[in-house]
């Protein structure tokens, strides 16, 4: 039995297809202006990779920001539940998931069955979300995907004193004018953002086995900065951390369709 999970985020859309407990295919695209369009395109991409068609999918669960606008779904689940479920399926002993999305950040504590015990969430302030890095990449004229690599070359990281995205953007412009090194600025930005996300996670008490999900988890500099800010080792998922929400949604689809957990 084939099931699907579709995660429509603000910045990217993800789809995962599962067949009897194996990941059949996954696909990630940049989000389109309309969530329906993102959903269709990302599913088509995943289906093409798997070499199957939409009517072979027994059950589909949607999640993410645009989850209520996916035309072909059978059900929907919160991103919090999906990220928890997805991460724990990959790494059964994980008890905490830190997910940084394009427009939010979440810290989720899980029990041994992957159920959410407690969570903290920020979507009110752009600081501490993927948007922070996106705006800074624009101001620094670097690609978002390059930021991690560049930051690893930092020798004297700057301290960013403003937490607000708007004020921090002005601050880095002055740092550029002062002739500070790009890698030192980016490393400082990662630390500043990590500090913000760490306080969110500490607010619900840290667990021993922590992992990071969402697109920002692929940023090596951010990953390292968050470890430093939390003072613990973060375990890396061996699957693309960006598809964790869609994977969780596919697992929910499988349960709903009557398959094993």
């Amino acid at each position: 039995m084939i099931v699907a999970g579709c995660d429509i985020g603000s910045l990217s859309a993800k789809a995962v297809l599962m067949n009897n407990g194996d990941i059949l295919a996954s696909h990630v695209i940049y989000a389109k202006p309309e969530p329906e369009e993102s959903a269709r395109e990302v599913m088509d991409g995943a289906l093409k990779k798997a070499g199957i068609s939409l009517d072979e999918i027994a059950y589909t669960v949607a999640t993410g920001y645009g989850r209520n606008h996916v035309p072909f779904v059978d059900g929907s689940e919160s991103e919090i539940a999906c990220h928890g479920r997805g991460a724990q399926w990959i790494m059964p002993d994980v008890r905490m998931v830190i997910d940084i999305g394009g427009q939010d950040a979440k810290a989720i504590r899980l029990d041994e069955n992957g159920n959410v015990i407690r969570y903290a969430y920020n979507d009110k302030c752009a600081s501490g979300t993927g948007r922070f890095l996106e705006i800074m990449a624009g101001a620094l004229d670097v690609e978002l995907e390059e930021m991690g690599e560049i930051s690893l070359r930092a020798k004297n990281p700057v301290t960013i004193s403003n937490q607000c995205v708007v004020f921090a953007e002005t601050e880095i412009i002055s740092l550029i004018n002062e002739g500070r090194d790009l890698s030192d600025i980016i490393c400082g930005l990662h630390r500043s953002m990590a500090h913000r996300v760490a306080s969110l996670a500490k607010g619900i008490e840290l667990e021993a086995n922590i992992t990071m999900t969402g697109g920002v988890a692929k940023n090596k500099g951010m990953f390292a900065a968050l470890q430093e800010a939390l003072g613990v080792t973060i375990r890396k998922v061996d699957t693309d951390p960006q598809i964790m929400g869609a994977l969780g949604a596919a697992l929910f689809a499988r349960m709903a369709a009557g398959g094993d957990k």
Partner: protein, 260 residues
């Protein structure tokens, strides 16, 4: 005896010249990169029309963001104390001052002598500061002045759901794409600004009379929205609200001279 107050803010620099009775001259300029240069430039601009020179100034007090980098001042005083003092000078019945600057916002409780009793500041978050309006005016492609008057023409005023400047910016772009009128969007922006400032003002406790200082006080849309939010009449001052910090600094300078 002539004294001066020089307020070097993040966005604008202001200078005021005062004798024992009245304001002799004043100037407002856009701040440059170096506070030293902004201070000198704004002072010269205030002195020239009054037919005065730097040597005629008995004492000068600096205030604002760049106050510790003004070369010609005898002393510097916090913006909070200067806004309270300036508002009291212009309107002795003032008990609450709401000052919205280029990158901060303050609510100040003042006693009958113009001393600060209590205050709250926000300079951590751009929402509720002049920067919020600046960002929004830029997306609408209008000036800050237009943003203030445009909301009066709103027919179906909109609302912004977000507080954060970054998210609110996305909402404004969304409204623009949906072909909403700029007047209706401007109304939403001024309302959002007032909502945020009202939270700060309420936490200090509103006591009459209330006045507003700083550049944003010239934005009629924000003032009206704030009056509605706080359910209080905001008294207009008899001088440019943007000059109040510099006026307060000059009043401190005069007190210093008289005391000495």
């Amino acid at each position: 005896m002539i004294v001066a107050g020089c307020d070097v803010g993040s966005l604008t620099s202001k200078a005021v010249l005062l004798n024992s009775r009245r304001i002799l001259g004043h100037a407002i300029i856009r701040s440059g990169f170096k506070p030293e240069e902004s201070a000198r430039e704004v002072m010269e601009k205030a002195l020239l029309p009054a037919g005065l020179a730097m040597k005629d100034i008995g004492f000068c007090i600096g205030t604002g963001y760049g106050r510790d980098r003004i070369p010609f001042v005898g002393k510097s005083v916090s913006e909070i104390a200067c806004h309270a003092k300036g508002a009291h000078f212009l309107m002795p019945s003032t008990r609450t001052v709401i000052d919205i600057g280029g990158q901060d916002c303050k609510a100040i409780k003042v006693d009958g002598q113009g001393n600060v009793v209590k205050f709250f500041t926000n300079d951590k978050c751009a929402a509720g500061t002049g920067r919020f309006l600046e960002v929004m005016a830029k997306i609408l492609g209008i000036s800050l002045d237009e943003l203030g008057t445009l909301s009066r023409q709103a027919r179906s005023p909109l609302l912004l759901a977000s507080t954060c400047t970054v998210w609110a910016q996305a909402e404004v772009i969304h409204h623009l794409n949906a072909k909403k009128s700029k007047a209706d969007i401007a109304s939403a922006i001024n309302q959002a600004m007032a909502n945020r400032v009202a939270i700060l003002a309420r936490s200090v406790g509103i006591e009459k009379d209330v006045c507003m200082t700083g550049g944003v006080a010239k934005n009629a849309g924000v003032v009206t929205a704030l009056e509605q939010q706080l359910d209080v009449n905001i008294r207009r001052l008899r001088a440019d609200p943007q000059l109040v910090g510099a006026i307060g600094a000059a009043v401190f300078a005069r007190e210093k001279m008289e005391g000495a």
